[in-house]
Each structure stands twice: as structure tokens, then as C-alpha cells.
């Protein structure tokens, strides 16, 4: 819990507008405004040592008009914080969900961002290849993980 608290303090010092939740064992999560990227990402990678993305989750909140994109980060190069997963969330407007791609900071995010793009309709600017990954090439319907896409038969 010591390391989690330390990380929280460092982030709060550099990026005061980020809302950091109470850290639990091995988990630190924060919600950041969009304008902190990519500086926040570079800070987390270089100063704190979170060198790869374990997943990128997108959650659709239609009643709040938001799509929340969360990057889950972890570290290989610093064994003491390997147990920590740091989640950075960004809230994007549902009708115009776009943000800067973080592939230049973390190459491991490439396929995850591509999947979030096709499943939730989030545009990642400057992404090297934003083609459909898991969906068929001729997909014309809504992004499937949006709440207004209903599964047939349910």
C-alpha cells in the first residue's frame, strides 16, 4: 500500500485536475481530463515505470452521455510495482468520442485501441491502423458494445 500511496502523491503533484480514487491493494485508479494526454501518459511511463498496457476498456454510459475509455497499465521493468495495475480513465462525449491515440507512448496499446474503436465507436487520432479487427469488413451496424445495440433474441 506504500507504493500505491506514493504513486498517487506523485500524480496528484504533477496533474492536479486528475481525480484519484482511494487506492486499494495493488490498484490505483484515476479519472483524467482529456487535455492531460499525452503528457500524463509519458509521465506514467517514464517517471513511474508503467511500461505496457494490459487492456483498454471502453464503457458506454448512455444516461450520462459519455463513453469512458480506461487504460489499464502495468510494469515489467520495475519488479516492486509489478503487482500494481494503474487504471487511467477518460470520459468522452458519446456523439463525438475521439481522443489522441497513445500508441506512440505504448506500442502495446495498438490492437486494444483498434478493438475499442470498432466495439464502441471511439476515434483514436494518429493511430497507425484503425481498420476493423474482430468484426467482419462489411460491418455497417452500430458499434456492438454500445448500449443501444441490442442482441437479437434478447
Amino acid at each position: 500500500m506504500v507504493a500505491e500511496g506514493e504513486i498517487q502523491k506523485h500524480i496528484a503533484a504533477e496533474f492536479p485536475e486528475a481525480k484519484i480514487e482511494l487506492p486499494t491493494a495493488n490498484r490505483v485508479s484515476l479519472v483524467s481530463p482529456l487535455h492531460y494526454f499525452p503528457e500524463l501518459a509519458i509521465f506514467l511511463r517514464d517517471a513511474e515505470g508503467f511500461d505496457h498496457v494490459t487492456s483498454v476498456t471502453g464503457i458506454d454510459y448512455p444516461e450520462r452521455g459519455l463513453v469512458s475509455v480506461t487504460y489499464h497499465l502495468s510494469s515489467y521493468s520495475r519488479p516492486p510495482i509489478r503487482r500494481i495495475v494503474l487504471s487511467v480513465s477518460v470520459d468522452l462525449p458519446r456523439q463525438d468520442a475521439k481522443m489522441l491515440s497513445l500508441v506512440s507512448v505504448w506500442p502495446s496499446a495498438e490492437y486494444h485501441e483498434r478493438e475499442t474503436h470498432e466495439m464502441l465507436g471511439v476515434m483514436f487520432q494518429d493511430h497507425p491502423n484503425l481498420n476493423l479487427l474482430l468484426l467482419p469488413e462489411d460491418w455497417t451496424d452500430l458499434p456492438p458494445l454500445r448500449k443501444d445495440f441490442k442482441l437479437r433474441g434478447r
Partner: protein
């Protein structure tokens, strides 16, 4: 010969349900683009329509050769969300079954590696020996491959009588066979020629690409969720994380064979230390966890499995995100195959242990 584009397509003896678009110039691969998505079934979306307990058969299907490994993280996540306790015996049983699944999955991997390299004995022997472990699983859990055995709060039923003796016989048999595998497969001169120095993934590239599992440990990084973030009773057991520094296909193969040995070691300890007691905590079958999110990680056979579950207090999850090891190893395809021989393509592909169903969900 000018550049030829080959579709190592979904209908190909060397690809599984997955397409690799490969551009070849003579014998050298200039570009290899993976094209997953042929078995995408929308598991994450479907999970939002089912109750937490009903999701277990859904979530173990993507990874049939290691089904306990994929469900373990989910069950832990639900327990953490809902604040459930798990009796100690159940924890030991879960570790035991997860390790047996790891052995099964690695033997399957070795067998298919044999097919890819053109070595039919390497295909026949592991498949035959895997029956010893599948037999154990069938006695304890009822089916051979997909069990629906782990539930939030414990396991579905207790181990049958006489299980311990049968298990010890099975792992002693496997230990003898592993010696033979080492002599005939790992020290085989043609195998060494085909895998040494092929598909080298350096340590810093492995970190940048974010790969997991034996692919990572074959490149010198000893990260394993069982040691980094121990769950259930892993912190009470003694085992090593095999790591090899070279990063070629041979290192990754050695990692997997060593992991079978370590799993046998864990199984022995668990069988010795298993306490009596309840195998499941009494919980309502329709769980309604309070609002919140949780992120859990476990180490399945192919790598780190992670689940991110968000709950709004309903009986179905609001969002279930699966981070599967095969999906996380996808960047390695493009990276490793560029510049290699065409005949190295199956070697590299299978040394990454990519399971199309697991990547597509």
C-alpha cells in the same frame, strides 16, 4: 521471383481459425499481418445479458484447452466485487485444478508444435499422455475439457474418494515421460536447428509489445501473476518461474516444458496440504454485487488473464472486459515474422501459443 502474397487463411492445415496475410519474396517474409476475428462471438456483449453464475459456462468456452485458467480470474473478480469468502479447501482444489489444466494445455501445445514442424511422434506422444490428466479431470469434475467447476465462493463439488492416489500415479507417470520428451524432443538435433535462433524477441521489445506468458518468460522477464499478485493459496506454495533469456523459439519451448515440471511440483504440495472442510461457501445463486469495478489477474497456461467487471448493482454485469493472453500476444506476429524464412512461419506462430478463439472471444 517477385513478391507473392499468401493467405495462410482460416482453411489451412497450419493456421487454426485465423488468417495471416503474408508477403513473401522468394523465401523471405517481408510482411505478416494477422487477421483475427473469424471466431468472434461477442462474448463480452453476451455476458451483459446473463447473471454472474450463468456467465461461467460462457466464459470458459473460448479457451477449451485450459478452461479453468480463463474462468479463474472471473470467479475471483466476482468474489471481490460481492465480498464473498472462499473456504480454504476450495482454494486448494481450485489451485489443483488450475495447475492440471496448465499441464493439459502445455502438452496440447507440444503436440501441435510437432505437427507444425513435421514431427509426427511429437504429436502422438503428448496427446496420448494428456489422457492421464484428462482422466483425472473427468473423475473430479465430470467432463474432459469444459467443466463449469469454479463458482463464486468455491467449487461445484468435492473431490471423489481415491482421487489423491490416482493423481499421484498420474503425475509420477508424467514425470517419467517428461524425461523422455527432453531426450527425444528438446535435444533432437533437427528440432534445435529449427528453433534455435528463430524468432528472437529481445527483452526490451517484449516489454514494449506487452506480451505475456511463456512468450514473455522466454525473453528473460520473470513476471507471473501467481508470484506478482498471489491469489488463493499460491503464496503458501513453493514453485519457481522458469525464465530463459534468449528470446528464441527454443527458449519459449523450454519455458513451457519447465512449467509442466513446476505444475507437477505444485500439484504434489497441494495434495499433501489439502485441508478437510467445506468446498463451497453458501451464497445466493443470483448475486447482486454492489456498485463498483474490479480488475483481477490470474496466470493461465498461455499467459495473464485479466477481467475488468463493472457492476451497477444488478444481477447482470454492466460491463465485462476480458483481456486474454492470445490477444495481447498479437503484436508479436508482425514483429517477429518480418525478415524470417517462410518455413519459420509455423515455428514462430506456434511458439507464441496463439489460440484464435481466446483472442477473438
Amino acid at each position: 521471383m517477385s513478391e507473392v502474397t499468401l493467405n495462410i487463411g482460416p482453411q489451412h492445415p497450419g493456421s487454426g481459425h485465423f488468417r495471416l496475410v503474408v508477403s513473401v519474396d522468394g523465401d523471405t517474409i517481408t510482411k505478416a499481418t494477422p487477421d483475427p476475428g473469424y471466431v468472434h462471438r461477442g462474448v463480452e456483449k453476451q455476458a451483459e445479458y446473463r447473471e454472474y453464475l450463468q456467465n461461467i459456462p460462457l466464459l470458459e468456452r473460448p479457451v477449451i484447452s485450459d478452461s479453468n485458467g480463463s474462468v479463474y480470474a472471473y470467479v475471483l473478480a466476482v468474489e471481490r466485487l460481492a465480498g464473498l469468502t472462499v473456504p480454504e479447501r476450495a482454494q486448494y482444489i481450485r489451485v489443483l485444478m488450475a495447475e492440471l489444466n496448465r499441464i493439459m494445455s502445455h502438452l496440447y501445445w507440444l503436440a501441435i508444435f510437432g505437427i507444425f514442424l513435421g514431427h509426427s511422434t511429437m504429436f502422438m506422444w503428448p496427446f496420448g499422455d494428456r489422457e492421464a490428466v484428462i482422466d483425472l479431470a473427468q473423475r473430479a469434475m465430470g467432463t474432459r475439457l469444459t467443466y463449469s467447476y469454479f463458482v463464486p465462493g468455491g467449487v461445484r463439488n468435492d473431490l471423489p474418494d481415491g482421487f489423491k492416489d490416482q493423481a499421484i500415479r498420474a503425475i509420477e507417470f508424467l514425470e517419467k515421460r517428461l524425461i523422455e520428451y527432453n531426450a527425444i524432443f528438446m535435444k533432437n538435433p533437427v528440432f534445435l536447428q529449427r528453433t534455435r535462433g528463430v524468432g528472437i524477441l529481445r527483452t526490451d521489445d517484449a516489454i514494449k509489445l506487452g506480451v505475456v506468458g511463456p512468450t514473455l518468460r522466454g525473453s528473460g522477464i520473470d513476471a507471473d501473476a501467481r508470484k506478482d499478485e498471489p491469489y488463493d493459496v499460491y503464496d503458501k506454495l513453493e514453485f519457481d518461474i522458469p525464465t530463459f533469456p534468449n528470446g528464441d523459439c527454443y527458449s519459449r519451448s523450454l519455458v513451457r516444458l519447465e512449467e509442466i515440471k513446476q505444475s507437477i511440483r505444485i500439484v504434489r504440495q497441494v495434495l499433501e496440504a489439502m485441508p478437510p472442510g467445506a468446498f463451497r461457501a453458501r451464497n445466493p445463486s443470483v448475486l447482486k454485487p454492489p456498485r463498483g469495478s474490479v480488475y483481477t489477474r490470474t496466470e493461465a497456461a498461455r499467459g495473464t488473464y485479466a477481467y475488468f467487471i463493472t457492476s451497477k448493482g444488478d444481477k447482470t454485469p454492466y460491463r465485462l472486459k476480458i483481456s486474454s493472453p492470445s490477444f495481447r500476444n498479437l503484436p508479436a506476429f508482425e514483429f517477429l515474422m518480418r525478415g524470417s524464412h517462410l518455413a519459420d512461419m509455423p515455428t514462430i506462430y506456434w511458439s507464441l501459443d496463439y489460440w484464435p478463439l481466446e483472442a477473438d472471444r
